[in-house]
């Protein structure tokens, strides 16, 4: 499939002379290594092995556990908000606390859970293993990246304990309101939030450069870019996006910190705040929104692209069929990534920016629907005439398609500028983004954890607990967010502590709120089953076979399972094919791993990849 690879073959035709297996040499040809094998840091103590680890696999697990721990706080905050919305009569939350919880929930889930989990967690675990490398390019920097993330989380959590509490500015942190008196946490809380984000970006940059350089420079012999699993393509592209998008957030945070602490006026016009004239003058609140969404929209894809990649691999492995249209899938990932930098102002249709921008951004936004739709088609065509095993990763992947489809289609409502006018700032938006970038990626996370857990621990997760967890999570979260769109049609505005009995809102809307809250409590509680499962199975789970899912990609082909430090023993693997040679006609097994040379599967009628 890849021309690039064929050229390399021709250019380096002389290497066959020193291939040991002379008979098979022609068809088993793999280009020589371009750089010498990597010298790794070897840990000497418990501290350097488990705490300040430089092994990407450990760092990945550390990232994942920290992210999930923070995410659990985000989950509890969502319960508190939902109870307030459903039972306003209880009066157990102050409006200020409600807004602080909304803000922290949003920021935690988007940045500290999803971004950290997909890139820091899965990126670190899977990039070296799937590319056939021994570790990340810069293991020490990689360690620093994780610890910067830890400090960022601690600073964020510290804001719960400062005077005034955490910021209640909404996760978008729009000025002027974020730093003026009418908003909770406008003195200390917001500063800690901004500092935490700055630290996060710094930490992420260290990790991100690592991921990119590792993918570009440290792939195993024969692992051309067009043979990489889509998981790697997704994580790689997302990292490129993040490195380009986070600087916009960073400068926005820095400028707002200056506005707040030194009295500059980047984002602050002249204003009268609660009867008091402030000394700001001439700044533009909309400038911050542009910076925020120039980061914020790619951020959606920073979360979505790794999920796209991972789910493609899960579907393929568990349907025992190659991913359909691999090349199209790669270009769709890259195309979506590039387009995602041209659509940011669709979050700002009614922000007061020049309304004529609406034409441009509605058009670019709807264009991005095309490559996204292609991905959905290719996932479902992968199922067609497959041999579908309804394992837990497959179930979660199927559920992902349904929720992502739903959330993607409602994106066509909001992206189409006219339709956005009545729906913006209502619960339709809340339902849309939770479906598309909350539930859908989280379902992939679960699928991925059920899939790769044996690789990390050498044991399987409990299937029955997993099924219960799956059905409650999938059906429950659909029951939360599907009806919520209709509250948006009613016109219920988001970020309302209480809606009272507005004349245009039927009392049944409150009933719907109660239903949603109860569903949210159940879905949240079901996550305890999952936690129990991952904790207990690490010790007591059924021992996993090597390569339990019969996957083709390299992470399952390590000499030991779980893989040891350096991943590959004496020699790094050689790659002869893409990661999707499932059910090849003429092959004995229904899968051919990437590192199986053609001479060992001579009967198989593989298409060249």
């Amino acid at each position: 499939m890849s021309d690039e690879y064929e050229h390399k073959l021709e250019a380096k035709s002389d290497y066959t002379a020193d291939a040991s297996n002379v008979g098979a040499s022609d068809i088993d040809a793999v280009p020589e290594a371009e750089v010498a094998d990597q010298e790794l840091y070897h840990s000497h103590s418990w501290w350097t092995t488990y705490v300040f680890s430089q092994d990407a696999k450990y760092i990945g697990v550390q990232y994942a556990l920290t992210a999930i721990g923070t995410g659990l706080l985000g989950l509890v905050l969502s319960w508190l908000m939902r109870i307030q919305l459903a039972f306003p009569g209880l009066g157990w939350l102050e409006p200020a606390a409600y807004y602080q919880f909304v803000t922290m929930h949003g920021m935690i889930m988007v940045i500290y859970l999803l971004t950290a989990l997909f890139l820091g967690g899965f990126g670190n675990l899977l990039i070296p293993l799937m590319c056939g490398s021994r570790d990340m390019a810069f293991p020490y920097v990689n360690m620093l990246s994780y610890w910067a993330f830890v400090v960022a989380v601690l600073v964020l959590l510290a804001s719960f304990f400062v005077p005034g509490g955490p910021t209640g500015a909404g996760w978008t942190l729009y000025p002027p309101q974020a730093i003026t008196a009418g908003t909770p946490g406008s003195n200390w809380g917001i500063i800690l939030m901004l500092v935490s984000l700055i630290l996060f970006v710094a930490g992420f940059t260290m990790g991100g450069l690592n991921y990119i350089i590792t993918v570009l420079q440290l792939r195993a012999r024969g692992m051309t870019l067009m043979r990489m699993p889509l998981t790697i393509w997704g994580i790689f592209t997302a990292t490129v996006l993040a490195l380009l998008a986070f600087p916009a957030l960073l400068v926005g945070c820095l400028m707002m910190t200056l506005d707040s602490m030194l009295g500059t006026s980047f984002f602050m016009p002249a204003m009268v705040s609660l009867g008091e004239k402030l000394s700001y003058d001439g700044g533009s609140p909309i400038l911050f929104q542009h910076l925020f969404w120039f980061f914020g929209h790619p951020e959606v894809y920073i979360v979505a692209l790794p999920a796209f990649g991972i789910v493609s691999d899960l579907l393929s492995v568990h349907a025992r069929k190659n991913i359909f249209g691999y090349r199209m899938m790669v270009w769709a990932i890259v195309g979506i990534g590039a387009l995602s930098f041209f659509v940011w102002a669709h979050h700002m249709y009614v922000s007061g920016m020049n309304p004529w921008f609406g034409f441009f951004f509605a058009t670019t936004t709807l264009i991005i629907a095309v490559p996204t739709a292609i991905k959905v088609y290719n996932w479902i065509i992968t199922l067609w005439r497959g041999n579908i095993q309804l394992s837990l990763p497959m179930l979660f992947s199927l559920a992902f398609i349904v929720t992502f489809l739903n959330g993607g289609l409602t994106g066509l409502f909001l992206g189409n500028v006219t339709v956005d006018v009545p729906l913006s700032d209502t619960y339709f938006v809340v339902a849309h983004f939770h479906m598309v970038m909350g539930i859908a990626p989280i379902l992939v996370v679960f699928g991925a954890i059920y899939h790769w857990y044996p690789l990390i621990t050498g044991r399987m997760l409990n299937e029955t607990l997993g099924k219960i967890h799956f059905w409650i999570t999938f059906v429950g979260s659909y029951a939360i967010y599907f009806p919520m769109h209709y509250q948006g049609f009613v016109g219920v505005p988001r970020r309302y502590f209480e809606i009272y009995d507005s004349p245009y809102i039927d009392t049944s809307t409150l009933l719907l709120n109660q239903f949603i809250t109860i569903a949210a409590l159940i879905v949240g509680a079901a996550q305890l089953l999952f936690l129990y499962n991952i904790i207990v199975s690490a010790r007591l789970g059924k021992k996993s076979k090597k390569n339990p899912w019969k996957a083709c990609s390299l992470e399952w082909q390590t000499p030991q399972m779980p893989p040891e430090h350096g991943n590959w023993g004496k020699e790094t693997p050689k790659v002869y094919r893409w990661a999707y040679d499932f059910s090849v006609p003429g092959a004995k097994e229904d899968y051919i791993p990437q590192n199986v040379p053609p001479s060992e599967v001579t009967g198989a009628k593989v298409e060249k990849t």
Binding site: P422, D425, G491
Partner: protein
Amino acid sequence: MPVTVAIVFLLITVGSVVFHFWSPWWWPEVASNWGGMDDTIILTFWMTGFVFVVICLFISYCVWKFAYKKDKRAEYKPEDKKLEFRLTWITTLGVAALLAPGLVVWNSYVTVPDNAYKMEVFAYQWGWKYRLPGDDGILGKTDIKYISDDNPFGLILEDPNGKDDLLVDGDELHLLIDRPVKFELRTIDVLHNFYVPQFRGKMDMVPGIITYYWITPTKTGDFEVLCAEYCGTGHYAMRGRVIVDKEQDYKKWEAKQITFEKMLAQNKNVKNLQLAKSTK
């Protein structure tokens, strides 16, 4: 197991459609000229709903039909150029069909008709005020530094156009039925958004600039105003009322409002009043 899973996915699909048609939760009847927005939503619903149903049914079918069997092999077919090409074009056409009508409506939303009368919506943490241009039809210029107890709107005293501006006492606004009105949106502190669900229109109010949108009320009645852009702790309580009147009732209400000049006189603010008079 495959049959059960297929049925559950089928039920979710059918359930979504049934919910849609039976849902008691739907928009309040439109009371402005922006019924076109509702129509675009309906069009989007039909098209996206169709895609949703087809794809979900396809998944259910595959789960049931291609369930795992030990001795079975999946099909080996890495690509199908023709199929991918067709799907790409069909999608592109579908997307264009959604976009085009949307842009047409947006064009009229951002183009204010010449015969629209102007008024100012004034937002602050956390409430609404309104200002009408008075007999001259021109809203007087304002500046945030003039805001005081005597001059709550911050009207520039030197601007003669401001003197006959009607300053609405209280947060109840009246509008004329069937007359296009342009809301000039102003805030003196943080972001707000002037939102009446039945009118469909929305636009953020941004300190430092005047934003706008326009509507033509098409139904008389009493509607609630909400703030639709988060503006701090009191956001949820930032409500007001809009009443759409026939001409007669509107005139009665308008007659009750006082001009800026009168207000200054009532407040016995002699200095400001003299300054205002001297610039006539």
